[in-house]
């Protein structure tokens, strides 16, 4: 009698039909996008505030430097004393007062500049003002030293060494970033997935105990089959929810950004990088990206991503299942959460620190075989080129450990039912494993 499909079906259907599951599946994307839109709206609102800044420039050097922007208006004061200017700024609700004293040389000038305001001014605005002053003083100093600033600019060079493998393939710096981005994204996705759905599996394993249906069930089904069915069924429900989320969020994001005209990428680091590289030559960058994508072992990556993602998830799912098998109620599970998450966090850290440093170093290699860290670490290593046999070995270890964990959890489960809350010793657990 093969009960596994039957159990998977029941687990899947009860999860998917559950009211709170349905509500969360369709509500979460709205909440997520809603929060995103709110944050975007609020930050735009924040920037909209119009600041007035008065400038008292006694040196007379900076008169042309301050150009008003939509968010900040500069007002040059003339023929007033510092005290009067301060008083005026306070009464007329002016955000701040920039005071530039008249001094004998530029060095003492740079030390004498002061910004007065009601409270601490915003960091970004101070940065802007400082930059402007700095550039101007720099130019002035260069002039003082008799150097033309145009000459300096023309002397500046940008060097980026061409990279090529011994086999003659062109590579680029961009490639390493791309490879890391792929591994990092895969690892992060796995991490999120485990955290969101691991608990669901644990609760599902406890379900039979709290509803006391367990004895009827295990008189017809082997605990191992039951646990496997629960893990697979819940995972399928999780994947269903995850896919719905991805699709809904993408659709909603598109709608929200087009309707409200929010520039999603504005000011994000990636945009800045692209902008700065545009200066260096768009053609070159695009060429590099295409080159690197072509260089990546795409088929290998996709297959291994699926295998490691599924394997890694199942392994952690079986860990959660063991916890569920060992306890009687959900309140007892809290203490077991940390030991489960530790190896996962370790994997992410090892991935980010050692693989970046040296993808094929000893530490990276070792961690890409340990089943609890291999899904993340190996996925990060593969883009840099790992022999197929090593990848396969790691996959085999991963799935083998998963089967072992389920077997272990099933033993615990069977014994957990029979022990009536008596706390077992390690010696006893070892004996039970032989039943």
């Amino acid at each position: 009698m093969n009960h596994l499909p039957l159990i998977i079906k029941r687990e899947y259907l009860t999860k998917v039909r559950n009211k709170s599951f349905i509500i969360m599946t369709f509500l979460s994307p709205f909440i997520f996008v809603g929060i995103f839109a709110l944050v975007a709206y609020l930050s735009s609102l924040n920037n909209d505030t119009n600041r007035k800044i008065s400038i008292l420039d006694e040196s007379g050097l900076f008169a042309d430097e301050f150009n008003s922007t939509p968010h900040t208006q500069y007002k040059l004061l003339k023929n007033v004393s510092l005290e009067e200017a301060k008083k005026e700024a306070e009464t007329e609700e002016i955000y701040g007062l920039l005071y530039i004293p008249k001094t004998e040389n530029l060095d003492s000038l740079s030390k004498g500049i002061t910004f007065y305001s009601e409270d601490s001014p915003s960091l970004s605005m101070m940065g802007d003002i400082n930059d402007m002053l700095e550039t101007k003083v720099n130019t002035l100093k260069l002039k003082e030293a008799g150097i033309d600033s145009e000459t300096i600019k023309s002397l500046h060079v940008n060097i980026s060494a061409n990279q090529e493998t011994f086999k003659g393939k062109e590579t680029s710096k961009l490639g390493s970033g791309l490879k890391l981005a792929f591994g990092g994204a895969a690892g992060y996705l796995l991490f999120m997935f485990i955290i969101i759905y691991g608990n669901m599996i644990m609760r599902s394993v406890i379900e039979e105990k709290t509803s006391r249906v367990i004895e009827v069930i295990i008189s017809s089904v082997k605990p191992r089959v039951l646990l496997l069915g629960k893990i697979f069924g819940t995972t399928l429900a999780g994947i269903t929810q995850f896919l719905i989320w991805v699709v809904l969020i993408l659709v909603l994001m598109t709608v929200v950004t087009s309707v409200f005209g929010i520039d999603t990428a504005a000011g994000s680091p990636s945009q800045q990088i692209i902008e700065s590289s545009v200066d260096g030559g768009t053609q070159q960058v695009l060429h590099d990206i295409m080159l690197e994508i072509n260089n990546l072992p795409i088929a290998n990556l996709v297959v291994m991503f699926v295998l490691f993602f599924v394997g890694g998830y199942l392994l952690y799912a079986s860990l959660y299942a063991s916890v569920g098998a060992a306890v009687d109620s959900e309140t007892d599970t809290q203490q077991f959460m940390m030991p489960i998450l530790m190896p996962l966090i370790l994997a992410v850290y090892v991935g980010f620190f050692t693989v970046i440093d040296n993808p094929h170093g000893t530490v990276s290699q070792v961690f890409s075989y340990i089943p609890f860290t291999s899904p993340v670490v190996m996925l990060m290593r593969i883009p840099f080129g790992v022999p197929l046999w090593q990848q396969l070995l790691s996959v085999v270890i991963l799935f083998g450990t998963f089967i072992g964990m389920v077997w272990f959890a099933a033993k615990i489960y069977r014994v957990g039912i029979l022990m009536y809350g008596k706390k077992p010793t390690y010696k006893e657990i070892f004996k039970w494993l032989k039943y």
Binding site: M1, H3, L6, R10, T14, N18, E207, S211, R212, V213, E215, V216, I217, I218, S219, S220, V221, K222, R414, I417, L418, M419, K422, P424, T425, E428, K431, Y435
Partner: protein
């Protein structure tokens, strides 16, 4: 046609399979850590009988039942079902209603019953037909789409009973089947169990309700502290446990004198039973040397005998006496 409460079919089955064993548990021991749950226990259950597995709490009954259900394995000893050592495929021949029982709370009654039936190896179609039969029979057909959490405890118990017997198992194991039922439903379930027995099923029955043991069991085994301390046909055990005590009612000219006389001659205990006469009421233990006829003759010589009953120990008496002596 029924003869003395047994159907003709049952008597026929009895004749044919009288000594045939459906289940043999041989020298089974089981320990959890240092705790001994079963110590060298053997039982034999005849086909078509109702076997009462009795014992105080913690005696090892549930462990034995779990071993029969292959939920746990014995440390030593073996279990033979229908001539074969217990194997995984045997689970479909056994229907088990555990004492600690529940159902998936959020599932609908019908779905759940179908699921559990399919786990026992029935096809969906088959399960549906049989469920319809049982639901109509117990008049619970309109519960099909209800969720378990909407049902009362007794209602849920009915569903559990149906699921237990649905796959027509050869061996039915009921652990406290009547708990949670009102007297009407308890009777209904009792009649269903007897009917299943008449149709050829063998029943192992574990309960603390001695009156149902009295009514239903053909054979009992008594477990205490992991050991089997009593085993046999209920009538044989009763015969063995009766100790020549008779309950008597006697109208005499002089109650006090007769009382004194009886107390001198026999071991006498006070007794009370309902009567319309003003009479002496006693339980009297008659020595083996005195035949019942002689005793009756003696009593009639003393006065008018209005009441004479042999005191047969109840299952409850046997239970208490045996456990206390152990």
């Amino acid at each position: 046609m029924r003869v003395r409460g047994f159907s003709i079919q049952y008597i026929y089955t009895l004749q044919k399979e009288c000594m045939e064993k459906l289940l043999e548990v041989k020298n089974v021991s089981k320990a959890y850590g240092d705790f001994k749950a079963l110590n060298n226990v053997s039982i034999e259950v005849e086909k078509g009988s109702i076997f009462g597995l009795l014992g105080p709490n913690g005696a090892g009954k549930t462990t034995l039942i779990r071993i029969i259900n292959q939920i746990t394995m014995p440390d030593t000893g073996s279990v033979i079902l229908d001539g074969e050592p217990l194997q995984p495929h045997h689970i479909k021949y056994i229907g088990y209603l555990p004492e600690e029982r529940g159902l998936y709370k959020t599932m609908k009654v019908g779905e759940q019953a179908l699921y559990l039936a399919q786990l026992k190896g029935l096809s969906k179609q088959e399960a549906k037909e049989r469920l319809k039969y049982w639901f109509d029979r117990l008049e619970i057909g309109d519960w099909w789409d209800k969720k378990i959490q909407e049902l009362s405890k007794g209602m849920a118990q009915k569903i559990q009973f149906v699921v237990t017997v649905l796959h027509k198992p050869k061996l039915l194991i009921f652990d406290e089947p009547f708990s949670g039922f009102d007297p009407i439903n308890a009777n209904l379930i009792k009649d269903e169990i007897l009917k299943l027995r008449d149709e050829g099923a063998t029943v192992i029955f574990s309960t603390h309700r001695m009156e149902s043991v009295e009514e239903m069991c053909d054979h009992i085994a008594l477990l205490d502290k992991a050991n089997k301390i009593l085993d046999g046909k209920l009538v044989d055990i009763k015969r063995q446990y009766k100790n020549n005590v008779f309950e008597i009612g006697l109208i005499t000219p002089n109650h006090a004198a007769t009382s004194a006389l009886l107390k001198e001659k026999f071991e006498v205990f006070p007794a009370t039973f309902k009567s319309i006469n003003d009479e002496l009421q006693y339980k009297v233990k008659v020595p083996d040397s005195v035949s019942t006829n002689d005793f009756v003759n003696y009593l009639t010589s003393q006065g008018q005998l209005t009441h004479f009953v042999e005191v047969i120990p109840t299952a409850s008496d046997i239970f208490i006496e045996t456990i206390q002596n152990n």
